[in-house]
């Protein structure tokens, strides 16, 4: 479902990604862990082209985009759009549109991008709101919702485009601990439904329970990857061990 080959990315003179290779099956849930600034968010943002990698190749569900320049020709732009349509993104800071109601937030993209009729888009938006437990908030504005509710709307908004892959960029980092569970529950539900997902998170408990595979990032490289029991119980790499010790100490 996802193939990444030799992905490089630098900002100015700092190299952020050192040739990442990654392959992921349909329905697989992958969790990226690692210290701050290790490149995991950049990796995720490259996957849906919010960042243009310097070189490398990304394929999602048969659509391939090469790194290098931002797209120029109509064909390149269409490739980029197709790649974005195949992936849904959830941000740390929710990024809901404050001037639109919850329902409008969800229906905007299907209506504008896919030119879906209003009734159809609304019906699906309402179904998605039921799924994330917010059917009562359809006409609320984002600023009247709690952080957890906003993030659930953001997930529904991404799902409304019927992506093949969901990308989560630290979805619970901006939330108070008591609001995290409601978001994690929705994500768990998606995993159970067989959604292909990549999640960047510091929630080790969630990673341990949900991930099919864990990738440990540091210094722009994948230092270790494997099933949760291996990574958490018998990490092979010294750096992984140290990282887990520190995070465990912080969150017993």
């Amino acid at each position: 479902m996802i193939t990444v080959e030799k992905l490089f990315k630098s900002y100015a003179k700092t190299r952020v990604l050192h040739g990442i290779d990654h392959a992921q099956q349909r329905g697989e849930a992958v969790v990226l862990i690692g210290p701050s600034g290790c490149g995991k968010s950049t990796f995720l943002r490259c996957l849906n082209q919010l960042e243009i990698p310097d070189s490398g190749r990304i394929t999602i569900d048969g659509v391939t985009v090469e790194g290098g320049q931002p797209p120029r020709t109509a064909r390149e732009k269409e490739q980029q759009r197709q790649l974005r349509l195949r992936s849904g993104m959830v941000f740390q800071s929710f990024n809901l549109f404050p001037h639109l109601t919850v329902l409008e937030n969800i229906t905007l993209s299907p209506r504008v991008v896919k030119r879906e009729p209003a009734a159809e888009a609304e019906a699906r938006a309402r179904a998605l709101l039921v799924k994330v437990g917010l059917e009562a908030k359809a006409f609320a504005y984002p600023n009247h919702l709690s952080g957890g509710q906003q993030q659930r709307v953001a997930i529904a908004r991404a799902l409304a485009m019927e992506p093949r892959v969901m990308l989560f960029d630290e979805p619970t980092s901006a939330l108070d601990p008591e609001l995290r569970d409601e978001v994690l529950r929705v994500m768990l539900q998606l995993v159970e439904e067989g959604m292909t997902m990549i999640v960047v998170t510091h929630e080790m408990q969630f990673a341990r329970e949900v991930a099919d595979r864990i990738l440990f990032f540091e210094g722009g490289r994948v230092l270790e990857s494997g099933p949760p029991e291996q990574i958490f119980s018998h990490p092979l790499n010294e750096r992984t061990r140290e990282f887990l010790r520190r995070t465990d100490a912080r969150r017993p």
Partner: protein, 485 residues
């Protein structure tokens, strides 16, 4: 208390002997306007720091008679009388006509020159040789000049009022007007070396130029009258006028002028007579509103184009948009208006005054609207665009559906401020012959002399225009923010 002080001040001024003061100072200060002031007083084209003209020579001759030196004080021509009253200079010596109207406001000396009116047309124009031929034609005249009064009395012409002579000649050559009516000395000066224009028909409606002084400066006036009399008798005036090519047989009348006594005019209270004056001001206000609304609409649209070019266009176009903003903001609106109105015709683009005013104001404000929009757009978190792109929207779709509606809310207060400022800034277009509210105020104030009453009415009208705009804006702002925040 204040009134007492004021009365004491007036008493003081009356008691002063101006002539003694001038002699003590060693300097006769004469008020005149050297801007487009040829042939009366104007900067020497060869040595622009030096003033020349027949009134310069006359002022020096008069000062010499009083045993002092002459010093010219620059003042806008149609504001010379109020400036004399304020005490900015001792006398007005600048083509001030001896008319009943002027004599009601200032004391006038015996005449020093006999002028007449002259019609000037383009060289190829036929049959516009007398006042009655000008009916129904666009005709230019200098603000508060004898020609303007004459044309207003005869009526029927499409009158354009100019702040200076150079501008009216430009418009004549640019075919915006068919004829200019003006004092003969000016006509001689500007038309004689210019093959594009000609004096059309004989001069008419002769009158006298005299020196204006404050009514209380009796001794000064007497000394000036004596000095003029001596200059007439010694043929000193004749020498000066011959030097400037202005001597004609009419000047013989200077020797036997008999003054007519005219009483000081009673003060007019325009506030008490508001039904006469308010409608005139309101007519000017209509022009102000038309100008402001159309120019602002232009600014809002052009500003959007400019900000889009600046933020999203490829480098050379983005750079151009940025240069546009910087150049427009870094140069005075007045110069921009002059360039559009008087400069463009030389490149074959001739706009009428209204269009030029709209274009000037609109393009000027477009630069500041573009900056307002930019601030609004850049105040939005980057995540908004990113979220839209991640959902598959194109950049332009993201702009229309996500950025624009949010930026609009941020941008409404500064844009409204600009709109209100536009009401007031639009008064500057009077320099390109637009008669809007402030210009009407100026013209009425000059003829009634009631700067305060008319000023209050005019300020009231401006306030009545801008306050609803600001109310509307705050309501709009509240409505937009109430929903989303």
């Amino acid at each position: 208390m204040f009134l007492l002080l004021l009365a004491a001040g007036i008493g003081c001024a009356a008691a002063e002997d101006r002539l003694a003061e001038i002699r003590q100072r060693g300097e006769l200060r004469w008020g005149a306007d050297a801007e487009g002031g040829a042939p009366y007083v104007y900067p020497d084209p060869q040595h622009p720091e030096r003033l020349i003209g027949f009134e310069c020579d006359l002022a020096e001759a008069l000062a010499a008679k009083l045993g002092v030196k002459a010093r010219m004080v620059q003042n806008q021509w149609d504001q010379l009388i109020p400036a004399l009253d304020r005490g900015n200079f001792d006398i007005i010596l600048n083509g001030l006509e001896i008319t009943t109207n002027n004599q009601q406001r200032v004391a006038m000396s015996r005449p020093y020159y006999v002028y007449a009116q002259q019609i000037v047309t383009r060289a190829d124009t036929q049959n516009l040789t007398a006042l009655e031929h000008l009916k129904g034609k666009p005709v230019g005249a200098l603000s508060s000049s004898a020609a303007l009064r004459l044309l207003e009395q005869s009526g029927g012409t499409d009158l354009r009022i100019y702040p200076g002579n150079v501008e009216s000649f430009r418009d004549l050559k640019a075919r915006r007007i068919e004829a200019v009516v003006l004092d003969l000395p000016i006509a001689l000066f500007y038309a004689k070396d210019d093959p594009e224009v000609k004096l059309s028909g004989p001069s008419f409606a002769p009158g006298y130029y005299g020196i204006g002084a404050r009514r209380q400066d009796v001794s000064l006036l007497a000394a000036l009258n004596q000095a003029i009399g001596e200059l007439v008798a010694e043929q000193g005036l004749e020498r000066i006028y011959k030097k400037h090519g202005l001597w004609d047989e009419r000047q013989a009348q200077l020797a036997d002028y008999r003054p007519v006594a005219v009483a000081e005019r009673a003060r007019i209270s325009t506030l008490r007579e508001w039904p006469r004056y308010l409608p005139l001001l309101l007519r000017g206000a209509v022009t102000t509103v038309e100008l402001s609304v159309v120019a602002m609409a232009l600014a809002v649209v052009v500003g959007l184009v400019v900000v889009l070019a600046r933020l999203h266009a490829p480098a050379p176009i983005s750079w151009l948009a940025r240069a546009y903003v910087e150049v427009i903001r870094g140069t005075p609106l007045l110069i921009q208006l002059f360039l559009i109105y008087y400069g463009l015709p030389e490149m074959g683009i001739r706009l009428n005054a209204f269009c030029a005013a709209i274009l000037g104001l609109g393009l000027n404000y477009a630069a500041s609207e573009a900056e307002n929009y930019r601030a609004g757009i850049q105040s939005l978190p980057r995540g908004q665009t990113e979220a839209a792109l991640a959902l598959g929207l194109s950049r332009s779709q993201a702009f229309i559906h996500i950025i624009l509606p949010q930026a609009a809310r941020v941008v409404i207060p500064p844009v409204t401020n600009d709109f209100i400022a536009m009401f007031k800034d639009s008064s500057i277009v009077s320099v390109i012959t637009m008669v809007e509210l402030t210009k009407v105020y100026g013209m009425l104030a000059m003829s009634t002399y009631d700067y305060i009453g008319l000023g209050l009415m005019t300020a009231g009208i401006y306030f009545a225009l801008s306050y609803p705009a600001s109310l509307l804006a705050s309501r709009l702002e509240r409505k937009l923010s109430h929903d989303h925040r």
